[in-house]
């Protein structure tokens, strides 16, 4: 009896060697990938206001699921806020990115600088 069980166990063990270990997502993505696509390809121009709406909804869903927002998510939202003239909210999101991901510090400071600069230029 036990001789019948062993090969099955061995098989599972061997098969496990070439299957990817069960991936547990680090982040909640919501529509973010589609929004990146819409932004990088400029396809079908999803208006910034609509994107903000989608991301605000996603943020609530992702938080409710106990997941973290992915790298760059807050910067993308900040960019949308900046595009629509909400510079304070843009700054808040960039600061939040720095806190969530210290690796983004230099980049976020670069963005904050250009944000302050653009604010001076625009009337």
């Amino acid at each position: 009896m036990s001789a019948r069980v062993v090969p099955a166990a061995v098989m599972v063990l061997l098969l496990g060697g070439c299957a990817a270990q069960a991936p547990k997502a680090l982040y909640g993505w919501g529509s973010y990938e589609d929004l990146i696509y819409a932004s990088t390809t400029k396809a079908d121009g999803v208006a910034p206001e609509r994107q903000i709406e989608i991301m605000t909804k996603d943020r609530a869903t992702i938080a409710a699921a106990g997941q973290r927002l992915p790298p760059g998510w807050r910067v993308h939202l900040a960019q949308l806020y900046a595009q629509t003239g909400h510079l304070d909210q843009a700054r808040t999101e960039i600061e939040a990115e720095k806190t969530a991901f210290p690796e983004s510090g230099v980049f976020c400071d670069t963005l904050l600088n250009s944000l302050n600069h653009s604010q001076k230029v625009t009337p």
Binding site: I36, Y37, D44, V46
Partner: protein, 231 residues
């Protein structure tokens, strides 16, 4: 007893048959420099385009953030990086690849820069069938030393009819239903996501797991101080 032994032998044969599905992996890459560098963040540049596809490079670019983030790296937002470089007068991906890596680090603080090249992207239509192929090569460079940490390439081809008879129709319906974002109607874009899995996650060929996947213990040797030095 004899019977049990026979079954056992059959089990082994069966498991070997299963294994043959994933045999002949190429020898693992040399990760010495990668391990020594232990990058925490990756700046992905828009791909250099070796295809005739206009939308290919930026369509492909949009697929990279997720797999690299889920591998545990901080991935700079690709669209905002692209806009930053363009605002500084560098508009073509091929030119972006020429920017000195030290300059990229100065502006972004990136530990490593990924240079993708798009070699194939798109579909060829033959009567009622279509063949979609995507091919990408990528090089990861240490932004502090300029040293190459890793490189790999992958190609994926999909035959629409071979996959699913209703594929084309389903695609068209899908395109009508999801008017908001049309990434799902581009078969090359969907293949790109599978290609990324092969390119970045194949064991012994892909990227090493990053700090957010490895966990705080492995993070400890490289504190946030590396960035403040840069300032």
């Amino acid at each position: 007893m004899t019977r049990a032994t026979f079954v056992s032998g059959g089990g082994v044969l069966l498991s070997l048959a299963f294994l043959s599905g994933c045999v002949s992996p190429p020898p693992p890459k040399d990760y010495t420099a990668f391990k020594a560098s232990a990058p925490r963040s990756i700046l992905v540049l828009p791909p250099k385009n070796e295809t005739v596809s206009v939308e290919g490079p930026y369509s492909y670019l949009s697929t990279v953030s997720r797999p690299l983030s889920e591998l545990g790296y901080y991935v700079f937002p690709v669209n905002e990086v692209d806009e930053l470089l363009k605002a500084n007068g560098v508009t073509d991906p091929a030119e972006m690849h020429q920017i000195p890596v030290a300059k990229l680090r100065e502006v972004t603080g990136a530990d490593a820069v990924l240079y993708p090249t798009l070699k194939e992207y798109g579909s060829k239509y033959v009567l009622l069938d279509s063949v979609t192929s995507v091919s990408v090569s990528a090089v990861l460079v240490d932004a502090r030393s300029g040293e190459t940490l890793w490189s790999n390439q992958a190609r994926l081809q999909m035959n629409a009819n071979g996959n699913n008879q209703g594929g084309l129709l389903a695609q068209m319906v899908g395109a009508i239903v999801s008017q908001i974002i049309n990434s799902k109607s581009d078969p090359a874009h969907r293949i790109s996501q599978q290609l990324d899995t092969i390119l970045f996650e194949t064991q012994g060929q892909g990227l090493l797991p990053g700090p957010y996947l490895v966990g705080p213990v492995a993070v400890a040797p490289k504190p946030a101080g590396t960035h403040s030095n840069q300032l």
